[in-house]
């Protein structure tokens, strides 16, 4: 992944030569996005590095999680695609926190249902949401909270 701030020369290089392209979860050797979507993700990468520089990354998992949530929420307001929201680098870093992040995500989901489903599925490898619940955010959140209680990840 490249590090850059918006508007600098590094950003231009990022956009033209060093795009961050996440893999398709169903075909890890293929990019999830092609063509125009890659540019959108690259723009989010650049913005994320501006808001969360490497020098502020020596923190506890809970502290990092809170900052990453804040950085993610600051950017996603008008986005209409949960897929694009999930490609936001702050969201990807939350996934990168691994299993330690799951209780934090579940508590956040209990506090305020939101689009944490991609992260939960990516980290845990399971999806307790039934097909009739897909898209219904509160029902999806309830399914994950129930799973969290069953796994004793949520007190």
């Amino acid at each position: 992944m490249s590090y850059a701030v918006p508007g600098g020369r590094a950003t231009s290089r990022l956009l033209t030569e060093e795009r961050y392209v996440p893999a398709d979860p169903q075909s890890p050797n293929k990019p999830l996005f092609t063509g125009s979507s890659q540019l959108l993700v690259a723009r989010l990468v650049a913005r994320s590095h501006y808001y969360l520089p490497v020098s502020r990354q020596r923190q506890s998992v809970a502290e990092r999680f809170r900052e990453l949530v804040q950085a993610w929420r600051a950017d996603i307001g008008p986005l209409s695609s949960a897929t694009v929201m999930a490609m936001h680098p702050a969201y990807q870093r939350i996934i990168g926190l691994g299993i330690d992040a799951v209780p934090l995500i579940l508590r956040e989901l209990r506090r305020e249902p939101d689009h944490w489903f991609w992260a939960l599925k990516a980290i845990t490898g399971v999806d307790p949401v039934e097909s009739s619940q897909r898209g219904r955010v509160r029902e999806m959140a309830r399914a994950w909270l129930r799973w969290g209680e069953e796994q004793e990840m949520l007190s």
């Binding site: 999830l32 959108l40 996603i76 008008p78 695609s81 897929t83 991609w118 599925k121 898209g135």
Partner: protein
């Protein structure tokens, strides 16, 4: 006036739109354009969200056109008010990636759900054009079937 919305949409000026709902992350513009406010519609490849059954799950305009075609919509040339039809405008960024959908109301103005923000009613389609949503790429329409009184 809502500074949070206007910060994201530089072409949206006070007096040119009306907020018609509270913010919500439970539905998006695609669901709202399709007439639903109880689900988030998304052609995500991970199959997490609702998408009309049998339609392609790709973040591409063609997938959105086909999803709306499943609801009876077909291509049309413009967003002017046509009696007997309801219309949807699909927006895309400069590279052709779908970003937004707005639905025409009976009075000719448009309703847009702005991501996880509010719904707004706006007269001009270019009110929400700009860096986030790009511009209108495709117009779709379907016949309105009036219920007998």
């Amino acid at each position: 006036m809502n500074h949070r919305i206007e910060d994201h949409f530089p072409n949206l000026r006070p007096g040119e739109y009306e907020i018609t709902s509270p913010p919500s992350n439970e539905y998006n513009c695609i669901a709202w354009a399709a007439g639903q406010s109880d689900a988030w519609w998304e052609p995500d490849p991970a199959n997490l969200y609702y998408w009309p059954p049998g339609q392609p799950r790709r973040l591409e305009l063609d997938a959105y056109v086909r999803a709306f075609a499943a609801l009876g919509y077909a291509h049309c040339h413009a967003g002017d008010l046509e009696p007997g039809f309801e219309k949807v405008a699909l927006y895309a960024d400069a590279m052709g990636t779908p970003t937004h959908a707005a639905r025409q109301l009976r009075n000719g103005s448009w309703t847009s759900k702005l991501g996880q923000l509010e719904d707004i009613e706006h007269e001009a389609l270019d009110c929400v054009s700009g860096p986030d949503y790009g511009d209108v790429a495709i117009f779709l329409r379907r016949a309105i079937h009036e219920q007998p009184k």
